[in-house]
């Protein structure tokens, strides 16, 4: 049985990818996670200059998932390239998430990874606030998505994956803009804007006030977005959002995803990566599938007639 997936020219041993933010820069879970189950992990978003991140509390458990407001804390590109990257030692591919405040910053940081050796792909985090446009995420409209991805594409020969935020009007247009600008794959989606309030203190729980919801609460919403995105572009779609079991992952593949990301689930179950990959194999064996493309998108051919209710 073959679980390989191709993203650009990079071949992943399995379709399971560790989502940006949960796995640090790569080495943090050494000895705790079975990295052989992973096709790749995505680093925390790296920006040109170091970022301090948001004031605490940065995370809140809402039972059906978590809301985080880390604020892109990271060591910055020069420490990452000089100290962190050379020490990364995991038996799977390494994708670096990149972010910036202007298209120019994205372009610059993308250029820094050309020829860095260890990096297998860049995941462009277009959920970063666009400073020139009052902090709206670049990924919230097709034009600014295009501008960011176009610059990155010019600077790098590495596969370029664009991570699309979830609640954007005209998701298909944003996806197509990313592809027109040269994206090799899309990650659908990021965390969902959310908040929690401390009713005793009558104030928001998070230091950053709002944050991003992840975990099982968002799975069904992400699944519909993946189904929609996969139907509108020809590049591989990496499904992300609330995947906790093999059945969840299989749903995403049937909806049209070529690969999938897991994140929050490892905060409660470090055995999840191996369980998911094992369950995927069992499913494929039972159905007589030898490769992922044998069933990718098998449930995606139907026309959407349901509307929103």
């Amino acid at each position: 049985m073959n679980l390989e997936v191709k993203i650009g020219e990079t071949v992943l041993a399995t379709p399971l990818v560790g989502a940006s933010g949960l796995f640090g820069y790569g080495n943090e879970y050494e000895g705790l996670l079975d990295f052989t189950s992973f096709g790749a992990i995505v680093t925390k978003t790296v920006t040109l200059k170091p970022r301090q991140g948001n004031p605490p509390p940065r995370i809140v458990d809402v039972g059906v998932g978590i809301i985080n407001s880390i604020g892109l804390e990271n060591v910055g590109s020069s420490v990452f390239l000089g100290e962190v990257l050379p020490a990364v030692d995991i038996p799977c591919k390494l994708f670096v998430s990149i972010g910036g405040e202007t298209p120019e910053e994205y372009r610059k940081i993308a250029g820094l990874f050309t020829g860095s050796g260890r990096v297998d792909a860049l995941e462009v985090n277009v959920s970063c606030p666009n400073v020139a446009r009052g902090g709206i995420a670049f990924g919230s409209d097709p034009e600014s998505t295009y501008r960011v991805v176009e610059g990155v594409r010019v600077e790098t020969a590495l596969p370029v994956i664009v991570k699309i935020p979830p609640l954007v009007a005209g998701l298909e247009e944003v996806c197509r803009a990313a592809c027109d600008a040269g994206a090799d794959a899309l990650t659908i989606a990021n965390t969902y804007p959310a908040m929690a309030i401390d009713i005793d203190r009558a104030r928001p729980v998070l230091g950053g006030v709002t944050g991003g919801l992840s975990g099982k609460a968002v799975k069904s919403i992400s699944l519909a977005l993946v189904w929609k995105a996969a139907g509108s572009v020809s590049v591989p779609v990496i499904g992300a959002g609330g995947i906790e079991t093999a059945d969840d992952a299989i749903e995403f593949i049937l909806a049209g995803a070529s690969a999938f990301q897991i994140g929050s689930v490892v905060l409660r179950d470090m055995g999840a990566p191996s369980t998911i990959v094992e369950g995927l194999r069992t499913y494929m064996q039972g159905k007589g599938y030898g490769n992922l493309p044998d069933f990718k998108g098998k449930a995606a051919g139907e026309e959407d007639t349901g509307g929103e209710e």
Binding site: P57, R58, D61, G63
Partner: protein
């Protein structure tokens, strides 16, 4: 070494209203943990929230069992209070950096506010022989709030109890207790090592007092956390050098001068 395993409840006993000690069988942690380190627990029972919860290690037999002390404050601890011997947790640990005993000091003063006692009790148990004098200052609002876990009496450790209403021990706070100990002994400041755990406001005052007196102070802090290993960067603690430290990886024990207390109290 940190690992992820299963911890089985040996005993779960209420020590006073809303506070419990729990003995866990978990050889992978009991063998190699030090005072100040913690574990992350997720109950393998219905209704547990999403994340694991952090608990300081209160004691360890060094081989198979560790104890924790907890107070029921939310859903996870409420579920824990109803768990029985034989039930299990998914556990990660031991985690974080513990206290660093300073053998050049003759006096150790451990200052515990409220539920802050567990890591300090572990410190006293393990390091009492390193010092000529070890004092454990316990502070609480009332006699009922005072937490003296069963079996805490450690040979050679002097206990000083303070309640704000005077219903047990001396009237005052743990901070008054600390001031008294530091003051009364007329010690060289280099001879004293203070360690503390408790509410953030109390730790800030302890840090301030120690800085004024020029006494070294280590604090064990609490912040909401998720991964426990420095990967997600959730448990940010404002650093005096600017930016943030992370309670799970850089702490939970810090030299009190590393923390920007003013900024942290604002959050």
């Amino acid at each position: 070494m940190t690992c992820c395993s299963i911890a089985k409840i040996v005993d779960n006993e209420q020590i006073r209203n809303g506070c419990y000690t729990m003995k866990l069988e978990v050889p992978s942690i009991a063998g190699g943990c030090t005072p100040g380190q913690f574990v992350l627990l997720r109950g393998l029972v219905a209704g547990w929230p999403y994340l694991r919860r952090p608990f300081s290690i209160y004691s360890s037999d060094g081989e198979t069992k560790v104890d924790i002390v907890y107070k029921v404050v939310g859903r996870a601890t409420s579920i824990m209070s109803g768990m029985d011997a034989g039930e299990e947790f998914d556990v990660v640990g031991p985690l974080g950096n513990g206290f660093t005993p300073d053998e050049t000091c003759t006096h150790a003063v451990a200052v515990a506010g409220g539920i802050g006692i567990p890591p300090l009790a572990f410190f006293c148990q393990k390091y009492v022989d390193l010092y000529e004098h070890t004092t454990l200052v316990l502070g609480a609002a009332t006699r009922e709030e005072l937490l003296v876990p069963v079996g805490l009496v450690v040979q050679g450790v002097k206990m000083a109890t303070y309640t704000e209403d005077g219903s047990k021990g001396c009237r005052g706070t743990a901070l008054d207790g600390l001031a008294g100990v530091i003051g009364e002994t007329a010690l060289e400041k280099d001879a004293v090592q203070v360690i503390a755990c408790g509410p953030r406001e109390m730790l800030s005052e302890v840090a301030h007092l120690c800085r004024e007196r020029g006494v070294a102070c280590q604090v064990s802090v609490e912040e909401i956390m998720a991964c426990g290993i420095g990967a997600c960067l959730s448990c940010a603690v404002p650093a005096s050098a600017g930016g943030y430290l992370h309670a799970c990886k850089d702490g939970p024990v810090f030299d009190s001068s590393e923390i920007d207390w003013e900024r942290w109290l604002e959050t």
